[in-house]
């Protein structure tokens, strides 16, 4: 079995592992290093760890300066304060200049849990996706997180990587090769496509199992690079399965659902239903309870899949 681990934990561990391999690597944090897990890197390479204090906007721009001086910089804080508070710094300083800064934002989505809405970032994919030249990535498990960290280092330019607080099941065996930017088809199917990212990938697979029991065969896609989107694979799915359900721990507005719907609408219109947070704020609660309350469940995905199939034109 592949390892169950929070993507933030895989991220911190990976940074520590590769610290020697990349001497230009610098890691920054904003007083949350024990939560984002950049503390793992600090332990092995304290001289290349920079704490910005509780000052996210300044951190992002300092990272830009370091990158302009030849460093590869990972900056971490909670997604709310990275994509949210520092949206404009990411846009105007990092992305517009193509700076080599990797924003690794943790505690994304509802599964932050008890801290509640002020800390539950469910609009970051939409925000980050709207910025030109910024790649947006959402790993589904620990192994994919590690692959993405290295991919981000190998590919110059700014990246937003969305990581979670809670443990997720392992989907990939250690050493799995990922084709950068490509959607991975986790399960073949011809009746409907479930396009998922992050923690929702595992739930989409469970939904596909439920559907299979009813004789409905769902294709499951792991859309871990949301921008630039692998449109070819999305359109192929639209063409071959005729209906798509997107699944994300994010608002239904502008995130993965938006990206898929835009792509399909322009080239091969088929029903696209979105499973996500229905344009509302989060709240305090246990992560599992919140997922249930907001409809982020395998059951709900399966229901939407049946609805999407019923909307297919004859």
């Amino acid at each position: 079995m592949a390892e169950a681990i929070a993507t933030r934990a895989a991220y911190g561990r990976c940074l520590a592992c590769i610290s020697d391999k990349y001497p230009d690597l610098v890691v920054m944090d904003a007083d949350l290093s024990k939560s984002t897990m950049t503390a793992d890197f600090k332990k092995v390479a304290p001289e290349r760890f920079i704490n910005a204090g509780i000052a996210e906007n300044n951190m992002i721009c300092m990272a830009g300066g370091l990158a302009a001086s030849g460093k590869v910089v990972f900056v971490s804080t909670f997604a709310m304060f990275a994509a949210g508070r520092s949206y404009e710094q990411i846009l105007n300083t990092l992305a517009s200049s193509g700076l080599n800064v990797k924003v690794a934002a943790t505690h994304a989505g509802l599964t932050v849990g008890e801290d509640g809405m002020s800390h539950q970032m469910v609009t970051d994919i939409a925000l980050m996706r709207s910025i030109p030249d910024l790649r947006v990535m959402v790993p589904a498990d620990g192994v994919e997180t590690e692959a993405m960290v290295e991919e981000a280092i190998r590919t110059p330019g700014p990246v937003y990587i969305r990581l979670g607080r809670s443990k997720v099941p392992g989907l990939f065996e250690a050493g799995t090769e990922f084709e950068p930017g490509k959607i991975r088809t986790l399960r073949e199917g011809s009746n409907v496509t479930l396009a998922a990212c992050g923690i929702m990938v595992d739930l989409a697979l469970q939904a596909a199992d439920m559907l299979a029991q009813e004789g409905i065969y769902a294709r499951v896609l792991n859309v871990s690079t949301i921008k630039p989107l692998d449109k070819e694979t999305v359109l192929e799915a639209a063409h071959q399965t005729g209906a798509i359900v997107t699944c994300e721990e994010h608002s239904v507005l502008g995130g993965l659902g938006g990206a898929v719907a835009e792509t399909v609408a322009e080239s091969w219109p088929v029903p696209v239903l979105r499973v996500g947070i229905e344009d509302q704020f989060g709240q305090s609660g246990k992560p599992e309870e919140l997922l249930e309350l907001y409809g982020l469940t395998a059951h709900h995905i399966a229901e939407k899949a049946i609805k999407a199939i019923s909307l297919k034109r004859a």
Binding site: D29, D31, L32, S33, K34, S35, N51, A52, G53, I54, A55, N57, N58, M80, F81, G84, R85, G113, E114, D115, G116, M117, S118, H119, Q283, S284, G285, K286, E289, L290, L293
Partner: protein, 299 residues
């Protein structure tokens, strides 16, 4: 719920008539019970600011728990919103809502959200939790008070680590610029943030000189001494034409032996045994009390 020992003691009525030290101990016990029951939350910075909130809510502020929206009330903004437990405890014991509800902290559906949410609970003047933003809203409230020629006062509480946020200084500049002498800021000067001592993580010192340079009147106070806090507030009220900062020297985790000055207790909950020990530390003088007795057993 009874096992939480929330008790029903409330202190309602005009400010100034209650034994503040007793109240503060009760509120600290509430904080411990709440965070223990929620299994998450922020005890360290709640305990360091307990005496400041006790003084404000039970002695200083002009408020009416029966009319939380009374237009002429004094207002308190908890800019360091993670200290929500102490704000909730202070409001409940002051009569804004039933203390039994304290045990629902951070649960799904509770009005006691992980960070204060405006509109969820009476007495919450502003949604906070994203550090730095509350102070700016307090400036806005003080501006409104001036526009409406009202006498009410605005109190805001920052964390010392929170001062690292740029927006804090934007609000500090604005408050001086608009001569907001109806605004009093407190800094919970406990010297710690999450990643360690403030002087090591990102030094905001000298805090007093910075505020003075921005045009504020500055008072130093012992944040665990009601007389000291009271003197500073009296001086703030005398100060015309500029806002006042009360820089309160505090101890993070104050009152709980094993939490004091420990950064690790910023955001973690006590387990059963730690809770009992904490409650024993916070027991009223002369009461052995159930918690104390159980502490013996647990040793």
């Amino acid at each position: 719920m009874s096992q939480l020992e929330m008790g029903r003691q409330q202190w309602t009525g005009p400010a100034g008539q209650f034994p503040l030290a007793d109240i503060a101990r009760q509120l600290r016990r509430d904080v411990i019970n709440m965070v223990w029951a929620a299994k998450s939350g922020h005890p360290g910075g709640s305990l360091s600011s307990t005496d400041i909130l006790t003084y404000l809510f039970y002695h200083e502020m002009n408020l009416d728990p029966q009319q939380p929206d009374w237009p002429d009330r004094d207002r308190f903004v908890l800019s360091k919103g993670h200290a929500a437990p102490i704000l909730y405890a202070a409001l409940a014991r002051r009569g804004y809502f039933d203390p039994e509800e304290l045990s629902t902290l951070r649960q799904q559906g509770s009005r006691l959200q992980g960070h204060p949410h405006y509109g969820s609970l009476p007495g919450i003047e502003m949604s906070t939790g994203s550090l730095g933003q509350g102070g700016s809203t307090a400036v806005g409230m003080a501006l409104a008070g001036k526009l409406d020629k009202k006498d009410y006062r605005i109190f805001n509480l920052w964390g010392d680590g929170e001062l690292e946020e740029g927006i804090v200084w934007e609000s500090v500049m604005a408050a001086a610029h608009y001569k907001l002498d109806n605004l009093t800021g407190f800094v919970d000067w406990n010297g710690l943030q999450i990643d360690g001592p403030i002087t090591q993580v990102m030094n905001p010192e000298p805090i007093d000189a910075k505020f003075r340079a921005f045009g504020w009147h500055v008072e130093l106070a012992d944040g665990h001494d009601f007389e000291s806090i009271g003197r500073a507030i009296a001086n703030a009220k005398e100060t015309k034409g500029r806002p006042t900062l009360i820089l309160c020297r505090t101890v993070k985790g104050k009152g709980v032996s094993f939490m004091e000055n420990e950064a690790g207790w910023h955001g973690s909950a006590p387990n059963d045994a730690q809770r009992l020990q904490a409650l024993a530390d916070l027991a009223d003088p002369g009461t052995s009390g159930e918690p104390a007795a159980q502490k013996e057993v647990n040793r």
